[in-house]
């Protein structure tokens, strides 16, 4: 976070206006249309880098369960990299590859790509995460401020998980209550009763 990046608003607005092409289902096996490896290849070319076939294969999914969300996040990251602001900076191949592969994989464990577009908090989280992992901070913020805010977002992330956990408990309670209520209402017709 030593380097000054674009205004945060630039990135969050860009995320909110992600074109449908970048939101397409990533190609995994025979499913999906968006070839994420091709997007990554184009992004590297803009910086004058060439990835090997093996490196590009990191962005070809093999398993819907493990790769879908990760590849969707990668395509969002490439969409941010396409912002005009990044055309003026020099990003090294290794740091770009580490970011798009390792950092995004880590993020994918806790963050859903769709929410990074649809939800304002998650847009900010994704934008800050994106900048920090490329060693930038938002314009107008000191390093300390940016770190504090990122720490706060880490708390936010923890809070989100807690909230999700609470929501899950609430839903489970509601399901049990609903089933208990319907037990009194004697269910619905079946032609046989086991």
């Amino acid at each position: 976070m030593k380097k000054i990046g674009p205004q945060l608003q630039t990135l969050t607005s860009r995320l909110a206006n992600t074109p449908v092409d970048f939101l397409d289902e990533p190609r995994i096996g025979s499913v999906g249309r968006l070839v994420v490896a091709a997007l990554v290849n184009d992004a590297f070319k803009k910086y004058g880098h060439q990835l090997s076939i093996d490196e590009l294969r990191l962005f070809e999914g093999v398993d819907q369960a493990t790769d879908r969300n990760r590849l969707k996040l990668v395509s969002l990251a490439v969409w941010l990299l396409n912002d005009a602001w990044f055309a003026q900076v020099d990003l090294q191949s290794s740091e770009l590859l580490t970011f798009l592969n390792a950092s995004i994989t880590q993020l994918a464990e806790s963050t859903k790509a769709n929410k990074c577009v649809e939800d304002s908090d998650r847009r900010e989280e994704f934008a800050r995460y994106f900048l920090a992992r490329l060693d930038y901070r938002p314009e107008g913020e000191s390093e300390a401020q940016a770190k504090d805010r990122l720490s706060a977002l880490s708390s936010t992330e923890r809070q989100r998980l807690l909230d999700e956990s609470r929501d899950a408990e609430k839903r489970a309670r509601e399901i049990r209550q609903a089933l208990a209520r319907k037990a009194a209402e004697q269910s619905a017709d079946k032609w046989t009763r086991e």
């Binding site: 004697q186 032609w191 046989t192 009763r193």
Partner: protein
């Protein structure tokens, strides 16, 4: 007339359907209907069911004993995303490495197995009779309950039976024979509101015992459904009408009894292997000498006690994945029932299916009662597992799981209402495995 219109129980009821409800209820020889149910199907539900019906007419099972179904991968992706129990485990492992689950898992917390994308508002439950141990309260939906019919029709067509459409006749009578039985009337919208009655043959539910014959002859249903014990009682009535078919679920049906019933009723008797957890799974086919699977989106494996898939033709525990109950998608669910699985030209077949054998017990006065009466008597008591055995001298032994021994006094009190002064000893179940729940030393206790 207007009292039969109930937008919750019968959202699409027509005048003709209401007339059928009135006929079933107000017939001079009708039983005392003690409960209420309803199809609860909306117009949108019926559209979806029609679409599913069309799909099922052309769709066949696309897997074989040693080959996974085409839909399995996508199904697992959905389950590991939407079902809390599986999502908590992270990424789905290879199918063969997924840990199987049992009734105990569902009993412990059914909510963890309900997908997050299923609305709660219209959820209903199927309560099992607990014939194999743990009582279960399963999440379901009116559309799921209605889908049973589609698989019954699939089975009936194999026997050349087509159901009629229209509110001018009774489609089905569900027969019970217990001292206390859940009874109601309804109509089946998918069959043009043909009549449906769930009755109890026990004389307690009738103003006069002879009313049973008069009423059932008047209804003249296309199909009777029940179990071997209840059909044995139905057979005793001097009915002059004959159904197109009988459908037996919930208990093992011996070949001898099936032949006897088919001769008596002059109609095919369909022995359907069906579970509350998965609906109608398979129908017995004489030519295939086994139960032919019915559901296109239910994958059946046979596992050994270590959870490994056995070789084709080797007996093991029937284990289910998929199913049509979208409130409770199953992943490697061990049923507690046993069979071998083999391929046939018509699809996979369960051979030598066994699990639940019908048993009846003799009272002091010589009268016989159904094992379901025992299930019902003990149902209010939170028993993890129990079994009941009758000795030759009519005395009984109640087997309880170690964790249930604290309830033994309540059990004895409940059973006293059923068995009067017969001696009942209590013993602890030593093995953790599923036990044969109802057994008897009296030869007449088993209906052959």
């Amino acid at each position: 007339m207007t009292s039969y219109f109930d937008p919750e129980r019968y959202p699409t009821l027509s005048d003709e359907g209401a007339e059928m409800l009135r006929y079933l209820t107000e017939h001079p020889n009708a039983p005392i209907y003690r409960d209420e149910s309803g199809n609860r199907l909306t117009a949108a539900d019926l559209d979806e069911l029609k679409a599913l019906e069309r799909k099922l007419t052309t769709e066949n099972i696309d897997w074989a004993v040693s080959q996974h179904p085409s839909w399995l991968e996508q199904f697992l992706e959905y389950v590991y995303r939407e079902v809390p129990y599986y999502r908590a485990q992270g990424t789905a492992p290879a199918f063969r490495h997924i840990q199987s689950i049992s009734r105990a898992h569902l009993s412990a917390d059914i909510a963890a197995f309900v997908p997050d994308d299923i609305p709660i508002e219209r959820m209903i439950n199927f309560r099992t009779t607990g014939t194999s141990g743990n009582p279960l309260l399963l999440a379901s939906h009116p559309r799921v309950a209605a889908t049973y019919l589609l698989f019954h029709q699939r089975a009936l067509r194999r026997f050349g039976v087509e159901l009629e459409v229209g509110a001018n006749h009774v489609g089905v009578v569900l027969v019970g024979h217990q001292t206390r039985c859940f009874t109601y009337v309804s109509v089946t919208p998918m069959l043009g509101e043909s009549g449906l009655a769930k009755i109890n043959l026990h004389p307690n539910d009738w103003r006069h015992p002879d009313d049973r014959t008069i009423y059932l002859d008047a209804l003249n249903p296309e199909v009777y459904t029940g179990d071997p014990l209840t059909f044995n009682e139905l057979k005793k009535l001097p009915l002059t009408t004959r159904p197109k078919a009988l459908i037996s679920v919930g208990m093992m049906m011996s070949a001898g009894m099936r032949a006897d019933l088919e001769a008596h009723f002059n109609a095919p008797v369909l022995d359907i292997y069906s579970l509350n957890e998965a609906g109608p799974i398979a129908v017995f086919d004489n030519e295939l000498d086994g139960h032919l699977l019915l559901q296109t989106h239910l994958y059946v494996e046979i596992l050994d006690s270590q959870g490994n898939t056995v070789e084709p033709g080797i007996r093991g525990e029937i284990t289910l994945s998929g199913g049509f109950n979208f409130c409770l998608p199953l992943v490697r669910y061990r049923t507690g029932d046993y069979a071998a699985l083999v391929d046939s030209p018509e699809g996979p077949v369960l051979k030598e299916l066994s699990g639940r054998a019908p048993v009846r017990y003799q009272l002091e006065n010589g009268e016989w009662i159904n094992n379901i009466d025992v299930t019902h008597a003990l149902r209010p008591i939170p028993l993890a597992q129990f079994g009941l055995h009758q000795n030759k001298d009519k005395s009984l032994v109640l087997y309880l799981a170690p964790s249930s021994m604290t309830h033994h006094q309540r059990c004895l009190e409940a059973l006293k209402h059923v068995f009067g002064n017969l001696v009942i000893n209590v013993k602890q179940i030593e093995k953790e495995d599923k036990i044969l729940q109802y057994t008897s030393d009296l030869i007449e206790g088993f209906i052959q």
